[in-house]
């Protein structure tokens, strides 16, 4: 091969679940940018549904196209072990992102560190409301990164700030109306509520409506961002949002996949030649996260970002 | 015939909320007899039968079979006890073939694992053969209501039963099928099977039954040997008075008018009927006779645009009439009373008053289009009283009424709009003698006041008794007309079955 360059027609696929979700948009832009730099073709694939069997089917169909590599967001870790291994055996390299399948033979995993996000959020809350206040969380049980953001924050608080009191914990499943209802009730039951941590943006939209309506003084922090919560950040209704660096996730994701498919371009100091495994083995790459506040909010307008770009 | 009592009911009572449908009823059925039940609409006949079949549970009282006290908890139990039941309301599975419907009970108790459709259809054909020709593999939903009634009868005949209950089986049948049924009944009785026969047609009771029990207001009044009484005795016991005039006076010669209300010329439909031409004149009641499936209903439905693609010319009161839909027809005052009351005549789960006003609720609405409920109920109550409807409250659903009273609701519904031209398809289906006479009187009054009336009926005595003129339909064509002295069952039957071959009648 002529160094870091694709053969003509060499294709890389990015496969996700709920493919209409805006989260993937900047990730795929990063993926594409990197691919363009290497002269590679890309395909955005996956299933529009929240359905594991459908995602596996789309994964297997992608394999029919014999891509050189795939950046995969596996909806669940274990069900993908066997398909991933089969794909690698037939010559397609797999890198996971934003959700992992650690027991498979995927070559790398890239994500933002949910624990770091949770820790950052906890420290910020304490900094703003003091270390002996009441706080609450909304959650989305069953989705691992959201779960992690919540449970990590709660245990971090318990360990480091034992006087912080968790007074409400409601499942709102990314539904803004459910979040509105839950937040309104939490506010009722806890007039002294000081802070609210929400692991995703959909629920944050409903929560902020409830807080505004109740004219309560509650510090809201959430992960991810939507145009609406961005506006609330600008207006000071939401204190801060932590947003994964999606572009970097996609860009680095492509790099990892490409290298996995071209292991001959480097020669690590290990036994891969005799043992016969892929030298491109990176258990964990952190793409980092951005802190969105009133001051820098303008840089996070997805519509502005997408201007002049091709979404597919 | 022996005097062994096979079924004995003692002191049985049943209430539906405030309505006491049966009050301490006693009843005995002997082995091998054909026992008629008579009573006004709502007297409690069907309720008693439903109790015997285990569909309803009595509030108190006893049932014994062969001297043994029994509790009949469900139709399945009744079947085990050897009770078969032809229901007043047709209860068949529309999505299933005729053969399977007929042998549903057999299939249910069958020990074999697999169905044998072939054998089933052959057996069904044999059972049906006697009554009527229907392909046993057709789905019941594709049958006309009278054919469904025959399937329902066939179904009961296949049961291996000791007691057979027939609740108004002939209401939608013509003489021909009814005669076949009676033949079968007598044969079964001869084999020792006991039959309970419910009918409002006195002739049938007196021609075919051994004993008759009369019910009134949920009470058992009397049981007599048919040989010992005359029809007037039974009617008297039923309604508490003698009905002196079963049929109203017919149009007299000098009342006859040449004014034509409806003039129908060369009406045809693709497959169902052809070249139908007739007139309804002012003041007369016109009858339409024919065998089952002759196309009587189709012709009438075609005229008021309920069904089919019809060609031909019509005029109403001398003006050309072209209807686009049944709604249009209603707005011109032309209404149709359906023969299938449960299927397309009434809204079973809606209140009586809302049923009665269905053709034109606007009539009791105010300027804003709001229904004024007390007006609706008042008007419904007036019609109900006129038809002698037996009901609890006007807000009760129609499903809580007895079969005959449901029919009266259907008639009330039609009278609601003050029609100019009425087509009645089996109007007195299941209606008792008293109410029947009343309905006939109403029809006569309407006719006299200039309303055009056409009656379809499978009960020839009714046609002959009520109509001034009867047209006979055979295989989709009008095969003849009888009036005056020529109106006899023989003449009508002849025209209905021979059809095209026109005998000399005059």
């Amino acid at each position: 091969a002529n160094g870091l360059q694709c053969e003509p027609g060499e294709t890389y696929i990015m496969n996700v679940m709920v493919s209409g979700h805006p989260y993937w948009v900047p990730v795929y832009q990063g993926f594409k940018q990197a691919a363009a730099a290497f002269g590679c073709e890309t395909i955005f694939s996956g299933t529009p549904d929240y359905d594991i069997t459908k995602q596996i089917a789309s994964f297997e169909q992608d394999m029919v196209k014999q891509p050189a590599g795939m950046l995969l967001h596996p909806m669940q870790s274990d069900p993908f072990i066997e398909p991933i291994n089969r794909a690698i055996d037939s010559g397609t390299q797999i890198v996971t992102f934003a959700a992992d399948s650690p027991k498979s033979n995927r070559t790398a995993y890239i994500t933002s560190d949910n624990l770091a996000e949770a820790k950052f959020a906890a420290e910020e809350i304490v900094k703003q409301v003091g270390d002996s206040a009441e706080y609450a969380v909304l959650e989305n049980p069953g989705q691992s990164n959201h779960d992690l953001r919540v449970t990590a924050l709660i245990s971090y608080m318990e360990e480091n700030y034992p006087d912080m009191k968790l007074v409400g914990r409601q499942a709102t499943n990314q539904d803004s109306n459910a979040a509105y209802r839950a937040t309104a009730s939490i506010l009722q039951a806890n007039p002294n509520l000081a802070a609210l941590w929400i692991p995703e943006a959909g629920s944050a939209e409903g929560a902020v409506a409830a807080v505004l309506e109740a004219e309560a003084e509650v510090l809201i922090m959430h992960a991810d961002v939507t145009p609406t919560t961005l506006e609330h950040i600008k207006a000071g209704n939401i204190h801060m949002a932590l947003n994964p660096n999606q572009g970097i996730q996609g860009f680095m994701g492509f790099m990892a996949t490409f290298l996995a498919a071209h292991p001959d371009v480097f020669d690590p100091f290990n036994d891969y030649k005799v043992s016969g495994y892929n030298p491109m083995q990176v258990p964990y790459i952190d793409n980092g996260f951005a802190v969105i506040t009133k001051e820098n909010a303008d840089s996070f307008d997805l519509n502005a970002y997408m201007e002049g770009r091709d979404p597919s | 015939m022996t005097d062994d009592v096979i079924l004995k009911i003692s002191n049985l009572s049943k209430s539906f909320g405030p309505v006491r449908a049966l009050k301490g009823v006693d009843f005995e059925l002997r082995k091998g007899e054909i026992h008629a039940l008579a009573g006004e609409n709502g007297a409690g006949k069907s309720t008693l039968m439903n109790v015997i079949d285990g569909i309803l549970q009595p509030d108190s009282g006893e049932i014994s079979i062969d001297g043994q006290r029994v509790k009949i908890g469900s139709p399945a139990v009744a079947q085990k006890l050897g009770i078969g039941f032809v229901h007043q309301e047709i209860a068949l599975c529309p999505d299933v073939s005729v053969a399977e419907n007929i042998f549903m009970a057999t299939t249910n108790t069958s020990r074999s694992f697999l169905m044998n459709y072939h054998a089933l259809e052959k057996k069904a054909a044999a059972v049906l053969g006697e009554l009527v020709t229907i392909d046993p593999s057709t789905l019941v939903r594709d049958l006309s209501i009278s054919h469904q009634q025959l399937v329902e009868i066939a179904k009961a005949l296949t049961l291996d039963c000791r007691v057979l209950i027939l609740d108004e089986p002939t209401a939608a049948l013509t003489e021909k099928e009814a005669q076949i049924l009676f033949r079968i009944m007598r044969r079964l009785a001869g084999k020792g099977i006991s039959i309970i026969y419910i009918s409002h047609r006195m002739v049938e009771i007196f021609d075919n039954c051994d004993r008759v029990s009369v019910f009134r207001d949920g009470c058992h009044i009397t049981t007599r040997n048919v040989a010992d009484v005359v029809p007037d005795d039974v009617v008297n016991a039923m309604v508490g008075r003698v009905i002196d005039e079963l049929y109203p006076r017919k149009q007299s010669e000098d009342e006859r008018s040449e004014d034509v209300i409806l003039d129908v010329r060369n009406l045809s439909e693709r497959t169902r009927f052809k070249d139908v031409t007739f007139q309804i004149r002012k003041g007369e009641i016109l009858g339409l006779a024919g065998l089952i499936g002759a196309g009587r209903s189709e012709i009438v439905k075609g005229i008021c645009r309920l069904e089919g693609k019809v060609s031909g010319e019509m005029s109403l009161n001398g003006l050309p009439l072209s209807l686009t839909s049944y709604k249009d027809s209603i707005s011109k005052g032309i209404v149709y009373l359906s023969e299938d009351r449960k299927g397309d005549g009434i809204f079973l789960e809606m209140p009586i008053s809302a049923n009665v006003s269905a053709l034109k609720p606007e009539q009791v609405a105010n300027a804003l289009g709001l229904i004024v409920r007390y007006k609706e109920e008042a008007q419904a109550a007036r019609l109900a009283a006129r038809l002698n409807l037996k009901f609890g409250a006007l807000t009760d659903p129609v499903s809580s009424l007895s079969g005959g009273n449901q029919q009266k609701v259907a008639i009330a519904k039609m009278l609601w709009v003050d029609p100019k031209l009425i087509f009645l398809d089996e109007p007195t289906r299941g209606v008792d003698v008293g109410a029947k006479a009343e309905i006939h009187r109403i029809l006569r009054t309407l006719a006299a006041s200039g309303v055009g009336i056409l009656v379809i009926s499978s009960e020839l005595p009714e046609l002959i008794g009520v109509c001034d003129r009867v047209l006979v339909v055979c295989e989709g064509r009008i095969s003849g007309e009888v009036s005056g002295k020529d109106m006899s069952e023989e003449n009508i039957m002849h025209l209905a079955s021979v059809g095209g071959v026109r005998p000399s009648l005059h």
Binding site: H21, A184, S185 | -
Partner: protein, 333 residues
């Protein structure tokens, strides 16, 4: 004697009074009202915050907009139909109006166009049901998928931020008149208006006839297809109205809004006594059903019941409440 005189003097009023109470007791909804009252009392004892104005307002706000969709669904159910697309169509209403607004259209005009689009979707479904002859279930399922697709296509999957909506427009979603939110007033107007019409007008009486027995309705001269077309269209139109209010309320248009809404809405109507076979149901009952579902959810949140227990408790209360209601209705009958 005087007694007797006075008795005969006011026979009408007396019987009317007695029958009023009797009618109340006989009403289909009495059982549900009782169950909700019991929940209210229990919750007031369990939590001091329950019976506060703010909590009540929040609770009503939580179902008010969906309640408008419940009205449409109930009428559709009565006519014998069903609509699975309500969630998608509500989302589409937000997206269409939001997109138009972002492209410079006046928000009121944009809303009117959006409601018209939803009405058109209803008419489209009505066409397939009444002319092609397909079942409501399958038609609305397909439309549910299509409308969601249009939402995604129109937004690229991203929520549209509509913070620039003028305040007089946001007023319909966020404003109050006196202490009462405008949303609740709109909700009450829709509910009372349609409840009244459904009970009293000849037009809606035809909806009952059609749902009760379509063939008998046709044989009563009712153009049943038109009636079904009308109820199908009305339901989608009301989704459009709900979508616009949501948009004004949240200041954004979310393409993923309302996923799973259909089950909630149908459940409310069915709990409130609407039959899935058509022919029966009341707006009042359906709204009570929505209230019941909402009170249970709010109460669980208020009591801070563990997330993992909430679903179990919610489902159990639903089942119990419906069983009790059914028992009461049956007993009275």
């Amino acid at each position: 004697m005087e007694d007797a005189v006075s008795l005969t003097d006011t026979p009408h009023t007396r019987s009317a009074d007695a029958s009023f109470i009797r009618r109340m007791l006989r009403m289909r909804e009495t059982g549900l009202v009782a169950i909700i009252l019991v929940l209210f009392v229990a919750m007031s004892i369990a939590s001091p915050y329950f019976l506060t104005w703010v909590n009540m307002r929040a609770m009503v706000m939580a179902f008010a907009v969906e309640g408008i969709v419940v009205v449409g669904m109930t009428i559709l159910l009565i006519s014998g139909g069903i609509d699975l697309s309500v969630g998608s169509v509500t989302a589409l209403a937000m997206v269409v109006a939001g997109w138009l607004f972002l492209n410079g259209v006046d928000p009121w005009v944009a809303s009117a166009i959006s409601i018209a689009v939803c009405t058109g979707i209803g008419a489209f479904m009505g066409f397939f049901v009444t002319r092609v002859g397909l079942h409501h279930f399958i038609v609305s399922l397909a439309v549910m998928v299509i409308a969601r697709g249009v939402c995604l296509l129109g937004t690229g999957g991203r929520p549209l931020g509509l913070y620039t909506l003028p305040p007089e427009f946001k007023f319909i979603g966020q404003g109050t008149i006196g202490p009462v939110p405008v949303v609740i007033l709109i909700f009450l107007a829709v509910v009372i208006g349609f409840d009244f019409m459904l009970r009293r007008t000849t037009l809606f009486r035809k909806v009952f006839y059609t749902g009760s027995n379509e063939k008998a309705a046709a044989y009563s001269g009712i153009r049943t297809k038109r009636v079904i077309f009308f109820t199908t269209t009305l339901c989608s139109a009301l989704c459009g109205v709900a979508g616009i209010i949501y948009m004004a309320r949240f200041g954004s248009a979310q393409p993923t809004f309302g996923i799973g809404m259909e089950l909630n809405v149908i459940a409310a109507a069915v709990i409130g006594g609407a039959s899935l076979k058509g022919g029966s149901g009341t707006i009042f009952g359906a709204i009570l059903g929505a209230v019941l579902l909402s009170v249970v959810s709010s109460s669980l949140a208020l009591l801070d019941v563990s997330v993992y227990w909430q679903d179990i408790i919610r489902g159990s209360i639903l089942l119990t409440a419906v069983s009790i209601d059914h028992y009461l209705v049956k007993k009275r009958a």
